[in-house]
């Protein structure tokens, strides 16, 4: 009978497997971090020494890359992620009001997760949907011409 491994060991084995699978690619670090985040939803701190070991880099180098890029997160996100565009085109169509509305409704600030673990709120600087502003991205789906009412509907659908 195979012994059930503790969860952390499983995560670390997954990280190592993903790192080794991509290690041969030129400039492998970003593809590896993406693979880890795609699989686990975030890049745990325990990934840093494993990836460093596989790529023969220092931990500082890997940590530096993980923390440089806004897209990589080191804590598990909520079940869904709402990216709210804060850039100029959306500002011209009421993104600041939308931001206030969503923060008040969800009682979270940017980079925070609701207390029920359902939703993480992240800022984003342009989704390339600027002729249908304001825009948000819920997980991987972009929504345009978003009003506070429309946003409430979208959030209710993933509740």
């Amino acid at each position: 009978m195979a012994k059930v491994e503790p969860r952390s060991a499983t995560i670390e084995a997954t990280i190592r497997a993903l790192a080794e699978a991509n290690a041969g690619r030129p400039g492998a670090l970003l593809p590896i971090l993406h693979a880890i985040q795609d699989e686990l939803g975030y890049v745990p701190e325990s990934a840093v020494p494993i990836v460093a070991n596989v790529l023969n880099l220092s931990r500082a180098e890997v940590h530096g890359v993980v923390t440089f890029y806004h897209f990589f997160r080191t804590r598990p996100p909520g079940k869904h992620t709402l990216y709210l565009c804060r850039a100029e085109a959306c500002q011209s169509m009421g993104a600041r009001e939308l931001e206030r509305h969503v923060k008040e409704t969800l009682k979270v600030d940017f980079h925070e997760t609701t207390s029920d673990g359902r939703l993480t709120l992240e800022p984003v600087y342009c989704l390339g949907n600027c002729a249908c502003s304001p825009a948000v991205m819920l997980d991987e789906d972009v929504h345009g011409r978003v009003t506070p009412e429309r946003l409430d509907q979208l959030l209710a659908e993933v509740r």
């Binding site: 593809p31 440089f68 169509m93 600087y125 989704l127 390339g128 929504h143």
Partner: protein, 525 residues
């Protein structure tokens, strides 16, 4: 009366989907089945008339008729009026190509966008695809570079550097390996042209990059796409796989015996990686820190090898130049700005979308004839051209022609062609603050004037808006802007002050505690 199956086009790009195109396509399929009407739904790309999205087209007698904006709730009514046979309906817009917004454009780079099924290689070929590459495989690298130079094409990412000259540097540099890198890190607010190419006509980018590879002797290319564009990433990956399977890409490009391989790399949400040297660092697996130049990337670029780094639009324009010739392309435009500019009308605009037009038209023509004024119906207060580092332009400058040099002459830039419209309710003091805030968030940290100056910029603007030592702080803000412009390596720190300075110069009342909003309280004019 079982006629042959009617073809109905429902766009599938991010913008159309963001306003319900998938629900519309499903409703059309359901309603057609319910009524026993035989149709074929094609998921094309967007025509770029974004205010009309979802824009549904019906092919009747070889012509495409448009209906829009269509919601799922409209579908039953459209069938009641036989829209699938071109029936009249309040949403009917007539023949798509005759809609003035489209008819007045010069669609060269965007010739196929919205017309075809983006991933169909047959569609791509049927609409002139791969003709440029077929010509290129018969030419030597120097000849291809000569044609691109002769066309007058300049980098459409924003810097407007002549593409042919960049390619010649790479061609003339000896190395065992060279690269072609496509900068698809389209981070400027108000821009979506790159995304549209990748989602609506991905093979044109593949074709352009392959021609670049043949021209300079590179066998490997990377498309660096921002993480905020998941659909573009998926579409490009699928298109590359299909192009390889069809022999248009890979070990033996179109049977020429020459190789060019292509790979998509996903960025990770850092605006600075749209700067070409930071992008190269990122591709190498490092923090996106800006490099010193020289050496130029054309001489020592990716992994230290000679590298062509071009924007999506620049590369996607190369196939038509190789197909129709340098003279054809050069005939469009004015002065040193040759060919077409892909303008993206965005923000508070009535008719937002993609306008590809020869250089030389004025900003006012774009805003009025194409844009139709603001979405809110209020007067235009300002437009920001060229992304978050671009100036806020005063209406007195709206008669400036779209021309790189004409814009540079008054401290503005065309950049990647994004035009963000604001109505008269905009708080430009807050927009100035945001320019500094954005720079502080996105600075790579290499240059002190950018890293610290942007943070101080936010603080100084806050003090001005609060009425603390207003005169002294305004002087300080100008000095800070000068320091950032003069003391930063790249355009982020070097140009983030531009929107701030444009507000100081042209909208001085906005940067004051006694600005229009505050003045309204307790002070009757």
């Amino acid at each position: 009366m079982a006629s042959k199956r009617t073809r109905i086009y429902v766009p599938s790009d991010t913008t159309a989907r963001s306003v319900g195109a998938d629900r519309v396509a499903a409703a059309i399929a359901d309603e057609a089945a319910r009524r026993g009407v035989e149709i074929e739904i094609v998921r094309n790309g967007s025509r770029g008339l974004h205010w009309l999205e979802p824009l549904v087209e019906v092919e009747v007698g070889g012509r495409r008729l448009a209906y829009g904006p269509v919601s799922a709730a409209d579908v039953a009514g459209l069938f009641d009026e036989n829209f699938h046979e071109g029936g009249a309906h309040p949403l009917a817009l007539g023949e798509t190509d005759a809609i003035p917004y489209l008819a007045k454009q010069n669609r060269l780079t965007f010739a196929r966008v919205g017309l075809i099924d983006p991933l169909s290689i047959d569609d791509y070929r049927a609409h002139g695809g791969f003709r440029g590459l077929e010509n290129a495989v018969k030419l030597d690298g120097a000849k291809i570079v000569e044609i691109v130079t002769e066309s007058g094409l300049r980098g459409r990412g924003g810097a407007a550097f002549p593409t042919g000259i960049k390619w010649k540097t790479v061609l003339d540099t000896q190395a065992d390996q060279k690269y072609v890198v496509c900068n698809a890190d389209e981070g400027d607010s108000g821009t979506f042209a790159d995304r549209m190419i990748m989602e609506c006509d991905p093979y044109v980018l593949i074709e352009g990059m392959t021609i670049a590879g043949l021209a300079v002797g590179a066998t490997m290319g990377y498309v660096y796409i921002r993480a905020e564009y998941p659909q573009a990433i998926r579409t490009m990956r699928e298109a590359i796989a299909r192009a390889e399977a069809a022999g248009c890409l890979g070990a033996n490009v179109l049977g020429s015996g020459r190789a060019f391989h292509l790979e998509v790399r996903e960025a990770a949400g850092a605006y600075i990686c749209g700067e070409e040297t930071a992008l190269l660092e990122s591709l190498e697996g490092k923090r996106g820190m800006v490099r010193f130049r020289p050496p130029l990337p054309a001489i020592k670029g990716l992994f230290g090898k000679p590298t062509v780094v071009n924007n999506v639009i620049s590369l996607a324009t190369v196939p038509i130049i190789l197909d129709k010739g340098a003279e054809f392309y050069k005939d469009f435009g004015v002065g040193r700005s040759r060919g077409t500019l892909t303008v993206q009308l965005a923000g508070n605009v009535k008719r937002g979308g993609l306008v590809e037009i020869a250089f030389g038209h004025t900003l006012r023509e774009l805003l009025e004839e194409f844009g139709g004024g603001t979405a809110t119906g209020r007067p235009i207060r300002t437009v920001q051209v060229g992304g978050p580092l671009g100036a806020y332009i005063h209406p007195s400058k709206f008669d400036t022609p779209l021309d790189y040099e004409a814009f540079a002459a008054f401290g503005a830039m065309i950049g990647h062609g994004g035009v963000v419209v604001f109505d008269d309710t905009v708080d430009l003091g807050q927009q100035a603050r945001f320019a500094m805030e954005f720079c502080a968030i996105e600075s790579c940290g290499k240059c002190t004037p950018c890293r610290i100056g942007a943070v101080r910029g936010v603080e100084v603007i806050d003090r001005i808006l609060a009425g603390v030592n207003e005169e002294a702080n305004l002087t300080l803000l100008r000095e800070l802007c000068d320091t950032m412009v003069a003391g930063s390596l790249c355009a982020l720190g070097g140009m983030a002050p531009y929107p701030v300075m444009s507000i100081l110069d042209h909208f001085p009342e906005a940067l004051s505690a006694r600005g229009p909003k505050q003045r309204a309280v307790g002070e009757v004019a």
